[in-house]
């Protein structure tokens, strides 16, 4: 709307202000009209009487309205509705006049009676059209005047434009006022207008109009003018399109309502603040546009900062933020609010504090709950820790924590109880110090595995207690973040019981063995003694023809006894093995006939040998015996007949596959003996290598077969594996170490008759008088000269003397120096002295290849005179000449 401000005091004031709308309406730029009289708009045809009336009204009441024909800068005319208000100074005298100017369509309302249309219609239309353009862009207000008596409505171009009416519509029926009003607002507007028409003087309503399908918000501000009899005469006012403003307000309203944000603005020094509806709602106050600051601040908790502060305007500029508790005015509920605002200088002096408030109760409560939770969490953790500590302290198991450095970080009191060490003696030290030397390796293996990443470990080790005794402790350990947590249970008692059980089992086995052996030996001794006794009787009786028969019987019994002891030694892995390179294939073929005879006709024997079979390193006779033994077992497992397959092949076990089986890696010759017999249930399979375990009826087996084979294979550094399927058969694999080299072409022939000695001197060391007697006697009969000694003490001086000695024949097991030591002493002065060891049992001599050096031979007891004589002859032939001479 065009506005001018003129100096008061004269009817034609000087213009001191004109706005942009003024220029749009009149064509006079604001700068051009400043300081000029407002008469510059008046044309020669302007009705002076109306102007006078206006001036009179203004002078009398301070305000007035008139419609006059004015001219624009370009000379065109327009009907101008002028409203003047007087602005008074502090003393109440008129200081300025504020005038609003608006073009009125179709001239002055008829009620006014100042028609005076003296210009041509086309010219006016042209002006209106131009004006409309200007007004649309200037968003000027449209005016209306409602003549109550005639019920006619007169509107200007802008009003017509807003209402979507033809600009030329000069006069309308009053009902046109309601026509474009939105249905939802029409009722309310009819009531409001009804009030105005019946004498309510002030009219102010916002409502929607629908023009061309578009909804616009308009603000109508009007007055009802009364006639001299105080009857309503006309209802006039201006209409402004406030759609944009309304849109902004609605957005703001939605933003505030949806966001729960209330806004406020306060000018320092005042008692009230402008607030939004949401602001009131947040405080629990009734919605209002202004509220006393005291009302606002009264809801704030006395200990907290007020919402509106700095009322004296001390703070000139800057942002402000604070939180406070409020007690809602309506419900009394306590809420937390945050206030965020800004101080800025007001144009007219003072400081404006504008800002927003919003509810932060939820956040505050969450914070409080979180704090509470944190506190209670600490309590709970404390409680848990106590519980854990209790377990730690009360546990009878050893609990410890080992750091990545291998040192103990903490130990529980059970360590003191069990081992007697104070915690201070254990902390910071390695557990190694306590571990039994024999268990250190196992301990290290598990510790390494844990460190390597295996999460848990279970193992038993012995730990030294403070008094020096050891306790068996079974450990379960786990690792986390390189720290090892261990739980150790004292299993000493269990270990003791296990040991006792093992011992009693051993004793039981020994008892069984002893009983069985005694029985067998008694039988054999009966044969020997009986035979000798009968021979002696026949000699006394002179019946010499029968002597040989009885002596043969005695010898047979003696040989059986020798075979039994041999087997016993094999089982005890203390037999003397004569491991030599041998061709297993040839060996098996050589016993094939024997096998077929033993197996009988119902069992089909297949021998399948790898043509490129490696030579093996083993004791030939033992292997023969083992294969026979296995064949017999297989036969017994196949009473209805079946197949027995002996397969010979090369086998290689890489180290990694064998680690778990505790076998030695490398190349092997595999002998697989498989039958199609009844097989074995798992419980039997688990015990097959146990000595004296037999499934055969009493008297049919000693139960030593498989255990002897096991002993033989183990001692030969091979492996034995057994697989059995109950009802399908059994397969046993013997793995003998490969001999890396060529086989010797021939073996020494042992069937030559004994060669007689030629008076060579043989030094005999033997503590057993019976054996010594036989040996000396044999030597004498074979034609050797012998020196008799009982032990090293007697033999050594002779060996160290200059006496001629061609051969040393010594027992291995002797009191004092053993046979090997005597031989070594002898070799010091007689480096090439041949030595023949006689042994019935000798751990040291169990492996000949290791025990013997060049020029040494072993002879297993018992032996025959023939055997003895042949061997001596061979030895003495091998080292002719210099053999007996001392080296110095």
């Amino acid at each position: 709307m065009a506005i001018t401000v003129t100096e008061a005091g004269s009817a034609t004031g000087t213009i001191i202000y004109a706005n942009a709308a003024f220029e749009a309406l009149t064509g006079f730029p604001a700068a051009e009209v400043m300081g000029r009289s407002d008469r510059l708009l008046h044309a020669e045809e302007t009705d002076r009487a109306v102007l006078d009336q206006l001036h009179a009204a203004v002078a009398q009441t301070g305000a007035g309205t008139a419609e006059v024909l004015n001219r624009r800068k370009d000379g065109t005319r327009f009907w101008n509705r002028i409203s003047v208000t007087t602005i008074r100074d502090a003393e109440g005298s008129p200081a300025f006049s504020l005038a609003t100017l608006a073009e009125v369509t179709g001239g002055p309302p008829p009620a006014n009676g100042h028609a005076g249309q003296q210009h041509s219609r086309p010219k006016l239309d042209e002006a209106r059209a131009r004006l409309r353009q200007v007004q649309v862009s200037a968003a000027a207000a449209g005016a209306w005047e409602w003549d109550i008596a005639t019920n006619r409505l007169v509107v200007d171009a802008r009003f017509a434009s807003i209402y979507g009416l033809e600009p030329a519509t000069a006069e309308l029926p009053a009902s046109a006022f309601f026509k474009p009003i939105h249905d939802d607002d029409r009722m309310r507007m009819r009531i409001a207008v009804a009030g105005a028409l019946q004498g309510a003087e002030v009219f102010a309503r916002d409502f929607r109009v629908v023009v061309g399908g578009e909804v616009r918000w308009v603000a109508a501000r009007g007055r009802t003018y009364l006639d001299d009899e105080e009857k309503p005469l006309r209802f006039a006012g201006v209409l402004t399109d406030i759609s944009e403003q309304r849109k902004v307000e609605e957005r703001l309203y939605i933003a505030q309502t949806a966001g729960g944000v209330g806004s406020f603005e306060y000018l320092s020094g005042y008692g009230t603040a402008e607030v939004s509806e949401e602001f009131c709602r947040l405080l629990g106050l009734r919605p209002a546009l202004t509220l006393p600051v005291r009302t606002i601040n009264a809801v704030v908790h006395p200990d907290d900062e007020a919402i509106i502060q700095n009322r004296d305007g001390q703070i000139r500029e800057g942002a402000a933020f604070h939180e406070c508790r409020i007690t809602r005015a309506d419900t009394g509920e306590e809420r937390w609010l945050a206030s965020r605002g800004e101080y800025r200088r007001a144009v007219g002096g003072g400081v404006i504090f504008a800002g927003v408030i919003y509810d932060v109760t939820t956040i505050k409560r969450s914070e409080a709950q979180l704090r509470l939770l944190t506190e209670s969490l600490e309590e709970r953790v404390e409680l848990r820790t106590q519980e854990r500590d209790r377990v730690w302290n009360l546990s009878r198991d050893l609990l410890n924590v080992i750091g990545p450095d291998g040192l103990q970080r903490s130990v529980n009191p059970a360590w003191t109880t069990l081992l007697g060490f104070e915690a201070s003696e254990l902390l910071g030290s390695s557990m190694d110090a306590l571990v039994h030397p024999d268990d250190l390796a196992i301990f290290a293996v598990h510790l390494t595995a844990l460190r390597r990443g295996e999460l848990t470990a279970d193992f038993d080790i012995r730990l030294r207690s403070k008094d020096g005794t050891y306790r068996w402790v079974s450990w379960t350990a786990m690792v986390q973040d390189e720290t090892i947590y261990g739980i150790g249970r004292d299993v000493t008692q269990r270990k003791l019981l296990e040991e006792q059980l093992r011992q009693s089992q051993k004793m039981e086995a020994v008892g069984q063995l002893t009983g069985g052996l005694a029985h067998d030996f008694n039988n054999m001794l009966t044969g020997i003694l009986g035979g000798i006794d009968m021979a002696r009787r026949r000699i006394q009786q002179g019946r010499l023809q029968d002597v040989d028969r009885y002596l043969d019987a005695a010898v047979t019994s003696g040989q059986r006894a020798a075979a039994l002891t041999h087997r016993l030694l094999a089982f005890s892995r203390r037999q003397t093995l004569d491991s030599r390179p041998l061709d297993v294939s040839t060996l098996v073929r050589s016993v094939e006939d024997l096998l077929r005879r033993s197996l009988g006709e119902r069992i089909e024997l297949t021998i399948d040998a790898d043509p490129d079979l490696w030579p093996a390193l083993a004791d030939e006779s033992q292997l023969e015996s083992a294969i026979l033994n296995l064949a017999i077992n297989a036969r017994d497992a196949m009473p209805e007949g079946g197949q027995l397959t002996i397969r010979l092949q090369n086998a290689h076990f890489p180290p990694e596959t064998l680690e778990a089986k505790k076998a030695i890696a490398g190349d092997f010759v595999q002998i697989r003996v498989a039958d199609t017999g009844c097989g074995m249930p798992p419980e039997v399979l688990a015990r097959v290598f146990d000595p004296f375990y037999t499934t055969k009826p009493v008297g049919q087996g000693t139960g030593l077969g498989l255990s002897m084979i096991y002993g033989f294979v183990q001692q030969s550094r091979g492996h034995i594996q057994i697989a059995s399927d109950e009802g399908k058969g059994t397969a046993i694999h013997l793995l003998l170490p490969r001999y890396d080299g060529d086989l010797p072409l021939t073996r020494e022939v042992e069937s030559e008759p004994p060669l007689s000695g030629t008076g060579e001197t043989v030094l005999v060391v033997e503590d057993d008088p019976a054996v010594r007697l036989i040996v000396l006697q044999s030597l004498k009969e074979l034609g050797y000269h012998s020196i008799e000694t009982q032990n090293g003490k007697e033999a050594v001086p002779i060996l160290q003397s200059n006496r001629k000695i061609d051969l040393l024949v010594t027992d291995v097991g002797l009191p004092g120096l053993n046979g090997r030591q005597i031989a070594d002493i002898g070799r010091e002065s007689r480096p090439h002295l041949p030595v023949l060891f006689m042994t019935g049992y000798a751990m040291e001599a169990a492996d000949q290849s290791r025990f013997l050096t060049a020029g040494m031979t072993i002879l297993k007891k018992p032996f025959s005179v023939d055997e003895f004589g042949r061997l001596i002859a061979v030895i003495l032939q091998r080292s002719p000449g210099e053999s007996g001479k001392p080296g110095h």
Binding site: S175, R188, G195, G199, A200, A204, E230, R286, P292
Partner: protein
């Protein structure tokens, strides 16, 4: 406006607002004649609240002492009408009505008298307008000026009618370019409200029936 009591529908409230507007406009005419000055009165909005709601409302919006002109009315509808000003506004009101040239002392001396007369004109016009529309007689007591905080203002005429409602209106006085805010309150019991609703319904019917 959640605190409002749903005794009147939106339309009825609009209509009642207009009735009061007509009333205060008539009062303005009277005041213009009386003081020979430019006077405009208007009531932009109306709230219907309980008695305690009215106390809360006035306490929230006005801090401190209030000055009120009170008149009881009897007839087709009965009750108690009040014209309320914040104490600070009342003196400005007196000076606007009685003349700008009065000193503060002079204004204070005639304050009660001037307030009573102004209140009488305003309240009478409002109620008379309503009664005229009902074509029913209405008698009004003499105006009395009371100063109080909220609770005392809204005490009912009779103890037993404590459960009545309060029509709460803002009133703007534009006198000689001074803007003075105040409130008009009407305490009524439920039968009176029912009678008032009939009046309002009549007014609405009249408005709707008009073929303009």
């Amino acid at each position: 406006m959640t605190a409002q009591i749903a005794t009147l529908e939106d339309m009825e409230r609009d209509a009642l607002t207009e009735l009061v507007n007509i009333g205060v406009s008539r009062a303005a005419v009277s005041l213009r004649k009386m003081v020979g000055q430019h006077v405009l009165l208007s009531v932009p909005s109306l709230e219907v609240v309980s008695r305690s709601g009215a106390i809360t409302l006035i306490r929230e919006r006005e801090y401190g002492q209030l000055v009120a002109v009170r008149q009881d009315f009897d007839g087709a509808f009965s009750g108690r009408a009040l014209l309320i000003f914040p104490e600070s506004n009342s003196l400005a009101m007196v000076r606007a009505v009685a003349g700008e040239t009065l000193t503060v002392e002079e204004a204070s001396a005639i304050e009660n008298e001037a307030l009573a007369e102004t209140g009488n004109i305003v309240l009478n016009s409002c109620l008379a307008t309503m009664a005229n529309m009902l074509k029913q007689p209405l008698t009004m007591s003499l105006p009395e000026v009371i100063r109080s905080n909220g609770s005392l203002l809204f005490e009912p005429r009779r103890l037993e009618s404590g459960g009545g409602i309060v029509l709460f209106l803002y009133i703007n006085f534009a006198i000689n370019n001074h803007d003075i805010r105040g409130y008009i309150s009407m305490l009524m019991d439920l039968p009176s409200i029912q009678a008032l609703r009939l009046l309002i319904a009549d007014f609405i019917r009249q408005v709707m029936g008009e073929e303009i």
